[in-house]
C-alpha cells in the first residue's frame, strides 16, 4: 500500500496533474477570498470556507481521474494485479495519495487565515472545526470520484463521470427544497454532503457529520475494490 501511495504521489508531481489541481484551486479560491473577505472587510472565514468547499466538486475529478482508469487504459494494472499486493492495498494507496495532495493544498489555504489574523481576529477553534468539515468533504468527493475512475476505461471518461456524480450530489440539495414528500426530502437531506457540512461551518463539531463522511468514504472505497474485483471475473479482450 505504501509503495502505491508513494508512486502515485510522485506521479502527481512528475506530471502536471498535481500542479494543475493545486494551482487552479488556489487561483479560484484567491479570487473568492478577495471578493468575499478582503473587499467586504469581513473576518468571517467559516462562510468563506463553505464557499470554497464548492470547488471540491469541480476539482476532485481532476485529482482522481487517472488513478485507476489510466492503469486500465495503459495495461499497467496487469503489473499491479499480478504482484503480491491486495486490491484493497492498491485502492487505499491510491486514495491516500489523492488525499495527501488534497491536504497539501488545504495547508496552503492557511495563508488566507494568516492574512485575516494579521488584519483582524480569528477564532482558532471555530476555524479548526470549519476546516475539519472542509477536509472531510474533500475526502468524500475524492472517494466518490475514485470509484468513478475505477468504473471508467479512460481518464477522460472517468473525469466526466465523476463530474456527473458530483453534480448529482449537489443537485440533491436543490431537489430537497422542491420535493414535498417528507420521506424523500428527509432521505435527500440525509444523503447530502453539503447539508452534512453546515454544522461545521457554524462552528459545531458534528459527530453525525463526521461519521456520515467516514461511512461515505469507506463505502465508496469498498465499492471500488468490489468493482475492480468483479471486472477481473468477466474481462473480455
Amino acid at each position: 500500500m505504501k509503495t502505491i501511495w508513494k508512486k502515485e504521489l510522485q506521479s502527481y508531481f512528475y506530471t502536471p496533474v498535481g500542479y494543475v489541481f493545486i494551482g487552479v484551486f488556489l487561483l479560484i479560491s484567491s479570487v473568492m477570498f478577495f471578493v468575499a473577505v478582503l473587499q467586504q472587510h469581513s473576518g468571517d472565514l467559516p462562510s468563506f470556507i463553505g464557499e470554497m468547499s464548492y470547488l471540491w466538486m469541480l476539482l476532485c475529478p481532476v485529482l482522481t481521474m487517472r488513478l485507476l482508469a489510466e492503469e486500465r487504459q495503459k495495461g499497467t494494472e496487469q503489473l499491479l494485479l499480478t504482484s503480491p499486493v491486495s486490491l484493497g492495498g492498491i485502492v487505499l494507496g491510491k486514495y491516500l495519495a489523492a488525499v495527501t495532495v488534497l491536504m497539501i493544498m488545504t495547508a496552503m489555504t492557511g495563508l488566507y487565515a494568516v492574512t485575516v489574523a494579521i488584519y483582524g481576529t480569528i477564532f482558532p477553534a471555530e476555524l479548526l472545526v470549519s476546516y475539519t468539515g472542509f477536509i472531510l468533504q474533500g475526502c468524500a468527493f475524492a472517494a466518490l470520484d475514485l470509484f468513478m475512475s475505477g468504473c471508467a476505461a479512460t481518464p477522460v471518461t472517468a473525469a466526466v463521470m465523476a463530474f456527473g456524480a458530483n453534480f448529482l450530489f449537489w443537485i440533491l440539495d436543490l431537489l430537497a427544497g422542491q420535493i414535498h414528500v417528507e420521506a424523500i426530502e428527509k432521505a435527500i437531506v440525509f444523503l447530502s454532503l453539503y447539508r452534512r457540512n453546515e454544522p461545521f461551518l457554524m462552528g459545531q463539531l458534528s459527530f453525525a457529520g463526521i461519521i456520515y463522511d467516514l461511512c461515505f468514504i469507506a463505502a465508496f472505497l469498498a465499492l471500488t475494490v468490489y468493482r475492480l474485483n468483479s471486472r477481473r471475473y468477466r474481462k473480455a479482450r
Binding site: T3, K6, K7, Q10, S11, Y14, T15, K74, G75, T76, E77, Q78, L79, L80, L81, T82, S83, P84, V85, S86, R232, Y233, R234, K235, A236, R237
Partner: protein
C-alpha cells in the same frame, strides 16, 4: 512448478479456454504455441493470477492461486503482451517501484536492480524516461520488470513480437540465459522460436489444448536425415537400403527426375555418424554428388499444422 488443472475460462458466450491442463516443471522452458485467438494470453493471464478461472485450478508449487494468491504471485514474474510501463518514470525509478511491489528488502534493492539492469543491457538508459525509449528497449524494461524480486517462474507473453530481427535474437538469447536457472513459460506463434528455446511445446487451438510436444528428443531414440542426391531413385535406392542402421527409407518428390530426395530414419542416435559416413562412401562410389545431407529436426511445424488443421475440421 506451475500447473493448470482442467481450467475453463469464458468471456460471456465465448469460451476462451476449455478444460486445459498442462504443467511446466522446474527449470524447464515451455513454449505455448497457437494461432492468434487460440487462448494463449488467456492461459497466461490465468496462470499469473490476473484473472481467476471459471473452473479448474491454477497451482504454483502445489499452492492454489485462488487461496494463496500472495504466495503464488511472489514466485512469478510476468511480462504481459503490452509491457506494463509508466512513461513518466525513469528506468531506475520504475525498477525500484517494481522491487517495492515485489517486496524486495530495501537494503538489497540497489544490488538487485543493478544486476537486472546489467543483465538486460539497460545500463546506458537507466536514467532516461521510459516514455522516450524505443520499442526494443521498452521490451527489455518489461523483461527486467519480470525479473524483479528474483521469481523462480518467468512468464512472457509473445516477448519477440514487433521487434526488429537483431532485437529478436537478443531477446531469445536472454530467454535462453534465463532458462538456465528459472522455469520459463512463454507464448509465441513463431514455431522456430519455440523449437530453438523450449524443452516442451504446448499447442493450443481455439481454446483447447491439443497436445504437448517434447522437444528435447529424450523421448525418442530415432533420428531423421534428409538427403538430396543427383541420380535416379532406381539407381540410388538399392544401395541405400543395404546400409545397416537405417530403419526406414522414404522417397520424397524432388520435382526434378534427375534428383532423388530421401528421408531416412536411423534406428539409434549413436549410429547417425556411421550412417552418414556410409552414405558418403556409397554415393561417392556411384559418382552421385550429394546436394544436401542434414539431420531433420522432429518437425514442430508438421505437428502444429497437422494438429490445428485436424481441429479445424471439427464442426
Amino acid at each position: 512448478m506451475i500447473e493448470l488443472e482442467h481450467v475453463t475460462k469464458k468471456y460471456g458466450s465465448i469460451t476462451a479456454l476449455s478444460d486445459v491442463s498442462f504443467r511446466a516443471e522446474n527449470r524447464r522452458t515451455v513454449g505455448l504455441l497457437g494461432r492468434n485467438g487460440a487462448g494463449k494470453t488467456t492461459a497466461l493471464n490465468l496462470m499469473t493470477g490476473y484473472m481467476p478461472p471459471d473452473s479448474g485450478r491454477v497451482l504454483v508449487d502445489g499452492m492454489d492461486m485462488m487461496t494463496h494468491a500472495r504466495e503464488c504471485k511472489r514466485r512469478i514474474g510476468y511480462l504481459p503482451e503490452r509491457p506494463p510501463l509508466y512513461d513518466e518514470m525513469t528506468v531506475r525509478e520504475y525498477l525500484n517501484f517494481v522491487c517495492d511491489l515485489k517486496e524486495v528488502v530495501r537494503k538489497d534493492r540497489k544490488a538487485h536492480t543493478d544486476e537486472i539492469t546489467e543483465m538486460c543491457a539497460l545500463t546506458d538508459v537507466r536514467d532516461r524516461l521510459i516514455g522516450h525509449l524505443s520499442k526494443g528497449y521498452r521490451q527489455r524494461v518489461g523483461i527486467a520488470q519480470a525479473l524483479c524480486g528474483n521469481p523462480e517462474l518467468i512468464i512472457l507473453d509473445e516477448p519477440t513480437v514487433g521487434l526488429d530481427p537483431m532485437q529478436v535474437v537478443e531477446i531469445r538469447e536472454m530467454i535462453r540465459e534465463l532458462g538456465k536457472d528459472h522455469t520459463v513459460l512463454f507464448s509465441s506463434h513463431i514455431l522456430t522460436e519455440v523449437q530453438q528455446l523450449c524443452s516442451t511445446a504446448v499447442i493450443l487451438n481455439v481454446g483447447r489444448m491439443i497436445r504437448t510436444v517434447d522437444l528435447t528428443g529424450e523421448g525418442s531414440d530415432t533420428v531423421t536425415l534428409r538427403v538430396s542426391v543427383a541420380g535416379k531413385p532406381k539407381d540410388i535406392l538399392p544401395g541405400v537400403r543395404s546400409i545397416e542402421g537405417i530403419r526406414k527409407t522414404e522417397t520424397l518428390s524432388s520435382g526434378d527426375p534427375g534428383v532423388t530426395e530421401l528421408r531416412l530414419t536411423c534406428a539409434k542416435k549413436t549410429t547417425r555418424g556411421r550412417v552418414t559416413d556410409q552414405l558418403f562412401h556409397l554415393f561417392a562410389a556411384m559418382d552421385a554428388p550429394i546436394r544436401m545431407l542434414a539431420p531433420e529436426a522432429d518437425s514442430l511445424e508438421d505437428v502444429f499444422l497437422h494438429a490445428t488443421e485436424r481441429e479445424d475440421d471439427v464442426p
